[in-house]
């Protein structure tokens, strides 16, 4: 009959436990191991064909990659994915109103007045966004409003009209621009909404969607083209249109 000394058994298990801990610690330290020198450290190293990294200074930051085999947006009817090393896992929305104000000057009943403003939208990891415009039609200090075009129509000088669109126009003058995709239409997908997407036709209904995207999108630059006509009996005064753009992204 073999009798093992308790000390021997005890020693075996202590050694086993120490080995186990060392194995775990070594594995953890390997997974957290960074490449570094006294003054620099390289984060998120990828060993392989290509990789990505962040570069930053006091005021700027960039995320660059090399060797991506597949990049950009891939989408089907119900799904979409962004490929590449520089994709973000965080939902993102950016809206910039790039114009601060617009003065259309003195209105005339013999000729239309036109003008443009601009904004851009970028939204990542969304299933789309809507841009809604909300404001009363141009209103004077006395409370008179310039009649908005509730259905798309062309310019008619001498008839009170207020409307807008988000496309390039040639009538009553050449003004406005179609949505511009940055850097191109393979990355960005914003469009002018129905009712506001026909050249030389203008409309305004507060609360309506004027632009949208049906998927995650890079930056789209939009130009809003405004049209105002007045009649001989449009009440005198300074008319103001205080425009609110409300962007809703669905994630």
């Amino acid at each position: 009959m073999v009798v093992f000394q308790r000390k021997q058994i005890y020693r075996f298990f202590v050694v086993a436990l120490v080995v186990a801990t060392m194995v775990y610690g070594f594995a953890a330290s390997v997974s957290a191991q960074q490449s570094s020198s006294p003054n620099y450290i390289v984060d998120e190293v990828f060993v392989g064909a290509g990789g990505g990294n962040d570069a930053s200074s006091a005021s700027y930051q960039a995320r660059a990659s090399i060797g991506d085999l597949g990049i950009g947006n891939s989408a089907s009817t119900n799904y979409q994915a962004y490929g590449g090393f520089t994709t973000t896992g965080a939902p993102y929305l950016q809206v910039n109103i790039t114009s601060s104000s617009l003065d259309l000057g003195t209105l005339s009943d013999s000729a239309a007045s036109t003008g443009t403003t601009a904004f851009n939208v970028r939204a990542y990891l969304t299933s789309g966004y809507n841009v809604v415009i909300r404001a009363n039609a141009p209103t004077s200090e006395g409370g008179a409003t310039i009649t908005p075009l509730t259905t798309p129509a062309g310019s008619s000088p001498g008839t009170e009209q207020f409307g807008l669109n988000l496309v390039a126009n040639t009538s009553p003058t050449t003004f406005g621009a179609n949505p511009v995709q940055i850097p191109d239409s393979s990355f960005s997908f914003g469009v002018a909404a129905s009712g506001y997407n026909v050249s030389n036709q203008f409309k305004y209904v507060s609360g309506e969607t004027i632009a949208s995207s049906l998927s995650s999108s890079g930056q789209t630059d939009f130009t809003i083209s405004y049209l105002i006509n007045v009649s001989a009996i449009t009440e005198a005064g300074r008319y103001v249109f205080r425009q609110n753009l409300i962007v809703t992204a669905t994630y």
């Binding site: 186990a20 801990t21 993102y92 809206v95 910039n96 109103i97 104000s101 003065d103 449009t234 609110n244």
Partner: protein
């Protein structure tokens, strides 16, 4: 080999196996970072009703779809400048005065604002400007369907223009916001975003506009087009021909004269209305200088039929009478024949011809003929003049003059 050595070797092998097994299992028990198992809510969005940088009582409407069923008793909402990482408040945005306006859940028990101060994950007291915690007591399961929560009373006070706001949502199965080990009590989460942008102001000016002119016209009704505007209006004289003792001998348009009426054309955007009146020109002579008279004649101060001044009918509409010396004017029609869109002009009762009469104020003071209640789009007064002689009225070439005035109120 002795039996003891064999047994010793087996023990060693067993111990080694145990050690390796521990090495594989230890990370699971010792790792300081266990990933949350919360499912992400789908089709999530937030719609605000006002996006300006300085707004009060902004409404946030959260819409989302639960990916699966679960008991939800706590909802934590954080307004942050980023979707992930440390939550930094959006400067100028304050949710501390929010109210729950509406909510749509399958369970009838409504969520209310956590009134108990900070509580486990909920820090809506410490971070009152950027965090809202809603709670209820309901241990029944919510369906995996679309839900919504609408909050109002949120303020944007000087938020920097073009600021993106990320609202982080977390749904707890308890109303004490206890996350549990590894966040196991957080059943669902998700981030939505909206943007606070500058209000864009478009402005333009409409100038005050008045087009008023006096002339003559062949139009003798209210519908024939007298001309598109004042460029089509001319003439200075209405000749009513030879005045006799009948009531029809000298009434414009008189073929024995020049067959013309007078016309006063008005177009204005004066929304406050316009008055139209006239002042009889005080001609040379003595007495009744504003009457139909012979220039320079000396007339009796009273109304006599033997001087060279016709008796004016005065400020009240009076019907013509044969053999009675009379002179007057009426605005028999308000003409809209130019195709304008308004019918804003109404005549003064003394000059509307309703009784078939005429009036004439010779005093030289402003006499009101008509008023417009608002903007006028091309309306005109057709002015008719008439005179009746008495048997004793002296012969002569008589004239009366008037200056018409339109006074708009913008």
């Amino acid at each position: 080999m002795t039996r003891s050595s064999v047994l010793r070797g087996r023990v060693l092998a067993l111990s080694s196996a145990v050690a390796l097994a521990l090495a594989l299992l230890l990370p699971a028990f010792m790792s300081p970072e266990l990933v949350s198992a919360a499912e992400q809510v789908n089709s999530r969005s937030v719609t605000i009703d006002k996006s300006g940088t300085t707004e009060t009582d902004v409404e946030y409407d959260f819409d989302f779809t639960l990916p699966s069923t679960g008991v939800i008793q706590g909802i934590r909402l954080q307004w942050c400048t980023t979707p992930l990482g440390t939550c930094t408040a959006v400067s100028g945005l304050d949710v501390s005065a929010m109210t729950v306006d509406a909510q749509t859940f399958s369970e009838a028990t409504t969520f209310a604002d956590n009134a108990g101060g900070d509580e486990n994950d909920c820090t809506d007291s410490t971070n009152s400007t950027r965090e809202v915690c809603l709670e209820r007591t309901d241990t029944d399961t919510e369906t995996a369907a679309a839900k919504s929560v609408t909050l109002s009373g949120i303020t944007h006070t000087g938020v920097t223009a073009n600021t993106t706001v990320y609202v982080r949502m977390a749904f707890y199965d308890n109303n004490t916001f206890t996350p549990g080990a590894g966040g196991v009590n957080i059943l669902f989460d998700g981030v939505v975003a909206t943007a606070i942008v500058q209000t864009l102001t478009i402005q333009a000016r409409v100038q005050e506009n008045l087009m008023f002119c006096i002339g003559t016209t062949t139009v003798n009704d209210g519908t024939t087009n007298p001309g598109a505007d004042c460029t089509a209006i001319s003439g200075t004289t209405v000749d009513i021909g030879v005045v006799d003792t009948t009531t029809t001998g000298a009434v414009s348009p008189d073929a024995e004269g020049n067959g013309l009426n007078g016309i006063a054309f008005l177009r204005t955007n004066a929304n406050g209305g316009t008055t139209i009146g006239y002042r009889a020109v005080q001609q040379s002579g003595t007495n009744h200088q504003g009457a139909l008279r012979v220039l320079g004649a000396t007339c009796n101060a009273g109304d006599v039929d033997t001087d060279q001044c016709f008796d004016s009918l005065g400020g009240v509409q009076t019907v013509l009478a044969a053999n009675t010396e009379q002179f007057g004017m009426t605005a028999e029609f308000v003409n809209t024949g130019s195709g304008g869109t308004t019918t804003a002009v109404t005549r003064n009762a003394s000059y509307d011809g309703s009784a078939g009469g005429y009036a004439w104020n010779e005093a030289g003071t402003l006499a009101n003929v008509a008023n417009a209640s608002g903007a006028v789009d091309d309306e005109a007064l057709i002015l008719k003049f008439a005179a009746v002689a008495a048997i004793t009225t002296p012969t002569g070439s008589y004239q009366a003059q008037a200056k018409f005035v339109a006074t708009p109120t913008f």
